[in-house]
Subunit: 393 residues, 2 copies
């Protein structure tokens, strides 16, 4: 049985419930006598290398519950993808501090970091267990049914479209909303939950899993306007053309080498221009919004299932590590959709690390401009009940 | 005593609670025997001219309550500022249908429309009463303490900044958020409610009431980063330079001749560039978001005071018109801030029509980059309690 200190860190883009996972892990660790100390790494791997730790055994339950209900990473996050050298430094710090448990809350990049460190421990015969705790609003981790963090972001997107569709119905025109999701369309597809009636938007949904054609987009928009006198469009920030080139980017890259697509209106403005072009001299009201960071950090719009599961995966990770000592990534298995029920299981780090997944074909409609009933059946229980739209008739 | 049909319409940019005012008016009208019919005008003045009405006496209370809780204008809105000819047409329709009461829910432009029609009735000795029901997220109507619609938008902005500040604390850098408010900084100033600790953002707040200097902005941001290692900025979409020229616009105008500033990342991108410029070769993470239409139409983030008062002004307008027959605009008087209490009164249409107001000098700090305690005392009771931010220490 392993016995020693534990380190926990948070990595990548924050979510509304990532602190639920942190608190779930802290509270579980406090109950385990095998865990002799609970160290929070400030800004993930960066904090470990600098031994910038915070003692997580002293906070009151009340304080921890406040943290759990606060969006974004309470320990600070990091976008560092460590190489061999950095991982060696991390491992040195672990050995020096008798760290026997390491929990890293993050996406596939964080799973890869955990994987490298786990392999290193094995090679050195250092008794050690590292468990990756999943989090990502993108919902693009393999193996798991879905990722903690996604459902709350999806709830924000669904509510945003619900209100914005009413706004568009009040002042008709074409409205384009750019949603986060570089390579996976899960979050953009969640906008479909806003639709409570046949004529409600979003009327068109474009995800990165399908090549985007400007001509087809123009045709689609005109057809919807013809039918309903207006059109609300959901589009992923990461849509690409038939050659895989981004339709529009701001050109910047983050430290993972990913193109930075959020935080700018470039894609929305570009698509607005294309709609106006399609109408030529005909007057048409076109507006675009880029939802940006609000999608991942908005307080008070949290899915109950998401908050509960985020807590659950943190708790499960610690108990698994302490009881079994086998490295892995926590995944969620859906037991039932109605009523919704789920449980955790462990999957090898290699099955989650590095490569991500994307929206399954069966969730995208044949025209590539909307979602299917199967998608709604998948996502609805995660996001939870939404307010009822009242319409005058 | 006036007796006849009533017409009600909604105008201008929607809000999260404009339908509360509509339902307040409908329910009051149903109780008044002087009101022989309740006609909802589709898309405001445009619907009246085309006699495009919906009978508002048939809906169930349940349906109306659903409508009241749904953002944006359930009757449809319009941005038409009618001239003399259009107003004559409206008046014709009113006479033809024995309309004796007219209620127009909107901002200062709508008050002006109501004013012109009221004057027309007086000249023609047509017994008629028109009452303007205030609504605007901009909070820029004269006379009233504040405007229905503002507090819910302010709540959205405060929550957005609260989460985004935690996001920025997790992944440090400079974050610029562009908030709605073409000429008035009320909504941008509401971002200050997000600040629950000295080091919390927004650290800088720029409103259109103060000339914006790019150099001063660069200086301010660097000073905050120096102190806290990061910086969250709130900036109104309508900031102008010392000559009154917009710092950055998309160049488009709506039918009121207003520059269209929302729905594009132009200002945020411009300011991001200026921050990077200030840092020269030094690496700095800079991001910008433009909150856009979500601010005015997001469901489920509604201020309780706002919802209640929006209902109240609709109810008051009808009872005033029926009981007194004197045209005017409904205004809100704050009776107490702690505990919060308010009541309605009527102010002449001319005191609200046309000209708008802006953020009082005493609400803006001496440096022109933040707000005062007086502002927080004014806005806090309107927005209501906000979630508590939990911080690890």
């Amino acid at each position: 049985m392993l016995k020693g200190q534990m380190v926990i860190g948070q990595s990548g883009g924050p979510t509304a419930v990532i602190n639920q996972s942190l608190v779930g892990a802290i509270l579980a660790a406090r109950e385990c006598e095998e865990v002799t100390g609970v160290l929070g790494a400030k800004h993930g791997i960066a904090g470990i290398m600098n031994e910038d730790f915070i003692d997580l055994t002293t906070q009151s339950i009340e304080q921890l519950e406040d943290v759990a209900n606060t969006p974004a990473a309470a320990l600070g996050s990091v976008r560092l993808k460590p190489g061999q050298e950095e991982c060696e430094k991390v491992f040195e710090v672990f050995k020096k501090n008798n760290v026997r448990f390491f929990f890293y809350i993050g996406g596939n990049d964080s799973a890869e970091t955990a994987h490298i460190i786990a392999e290193m421990a094995k090679q050195e015969n250092y008794d050690f267990c590292t468990v990756h705790i999943p989090k990502t609003i993108d919902n693009d981790l393999r193996v798991t049914d879905h990722c903690p963090g996604f459902a709350s972001a999806a709830r924000f997107v669904a509510l945003a479209f619900m209100g914005d569709d009413r706004d568009n119905a009040a002042l008709s025109g074409v409205k384009i909303n750019v949603v986060m999701g570089r390579d996976a369309g899960f979050l953009t597809a969640a906008s479909a939950l806003a639709k409570q009636g046949d004529d409600c938007g979003p009327h068109l949904i474009y995800v990165p899993e399908r090549a985007f054609s400007v001509e087809r987009f123009q045709y689609d928009v005109k057809a919807v306007v013809q039918k309903y006198g207006r059109c609300v469009v959901a589009v992923s920030e990461g849509i690409t053309d038939e050659h895989g080139a981004p339709v529009m980017t701001s050109g910047e890259r983050d430290s993972h080498g990913n193109l930075q697509l959020s935080g700018t209106g470039a894609l929305g403005d570009f698509l607005s221009g294309k709609v106006k072009e399609a109408y030529g001299d005909e007057a048409v009201r076109v507006r675009a919004d880029t939802f940006g960071y609000l999608q991942r950090s908005f307080p008070s719009v949290v899915s109950k299932v998401d908050a509960k599961e985020a807590r659950m995966v943190g708790d499960f990770a610690v108990r698994h590590a302490v009881n079994h000592g086998i490295p892995g990534s926590v995944a969620i298995k859906r037991l039932s959709s109605m009523p919704y029920d789920s449980e955790c299981f462990i999957t090898p780090l290699s099955t989650v690390a590095r490569e991500a997944t994307s929206l399954d074909d069966r969730y995208i409609n044949a025209d590539g401009n909307g979602v299917t009933e199967a998608w709604l059946a998948y996502v609805k229980p995660l996001v939870g009940d939404l307010p009822k739209i009242g319409i005058l008739s």
